[in-house]
Amino acid sequence: MTLLSHYNYWVVILLMMVGFYTMISRGNLIKKMVGLNVFQTSVFMLYISMGKIRGGTAPILMDAHGESSETAHVLYSNPLPHVLILTAIVVGIATTAVGLALIVRIKETYGSIEEDEINQIEAEGAA
C-alpha cells in the first residue's frame, strides 16, 4: 500500500518544491529567501515524518530514572531526527540572517532588490 503509507511524504515533497521553485525562479531577493525558508522547513518535515512511529509518543520518559520495565511498554518516537532537525532549524535561521543582511546591503548600494535590475546595473557598470 504505497499510496496510503507514503502520502504524507508526497505532501511534504510538494511543499518542498513550492519553496524550491520560489527560490530559484523569483527575481526578488526577499522572495528567494522566503522560498529558501519554506524549502528548508519542508525538509524538516520530511525528517520528522521519518522519525514518527504510529502510536508513539514524544521521547520524554515518564520517570526520570525510569526502570526499563516501565519504559518497555511505552512506544516513543525516534528522538534522533528531532535532534538533527533542531540543529538544522538553527542553521536555517543563521542562513536567513546572513542572507537578509546581504539583501539590506544590496538595497543600500544598488537601490534595488530585484535580480534583473541589479544585473542591469552591473552590466552598465561594466560597460
Binding site: V18, I30, T71, Y76, I85, L86
Partner: protein, 163 residues
Amino acid sequence: MRIRNLFAVVMMAGIYSLLSAGLFTIMDAVDVAFTEAAVGAGISTVLFLGALALVGHHERKPGHTPLLPLIVVLVTGGALVYGTMDMPPYGDPGNPVHHHVADHYLEESPHEIGIPNIVTAVLASYRGYDTMGETTVVFTAAVAVMLLLARRPRRPEEEEDEA
C-alpha cells in the same frame, strides 16, 4: 508566490512555519515544534520584517515564469517521489530508522545520562558535538551579519548612495 506585497509573503511564510510547528507536535516532535514556533514563526518573521523595513514592501515587477526552474523543480520533485517508493511505510515501528542507534538512545539513556527528555540527552551529550557545531553556526551568523551591517563612518556610505 504570486503576491506582490512582500509583507504578505513574509506573513504567509510565518504562518506556514507555525502550521508546520503544529504538524511537528502531531508527529511527537515537541522540541522541534517549540523551536520551529520560536524560530520559524518568531525570530525569522521578525528578521524578515526588519529587513522589509529597510528594503521596502513591494516587489517592483510581476514575476515572470521561466521554464528552466520549473523543469528543475519537476525533476527534483519527481526524483524525490520516486525515491519514496522504496521508503519504509510511514510510522511503522519496524522501520530500520527506529532501531540501530535509536534503540540505544531510548533504552540506555536513562542509565547513561538519566534525564527524562531524551531529545535533550541526545542533543547535549550523545551528539553534543553537533550542538557545539550548531552554536558555532549561530555565532558565525552573528560574525557575518556584523561584518555586513556593523556601523561604518557616515560619509563614504552617502557617497556610495549617490553614485
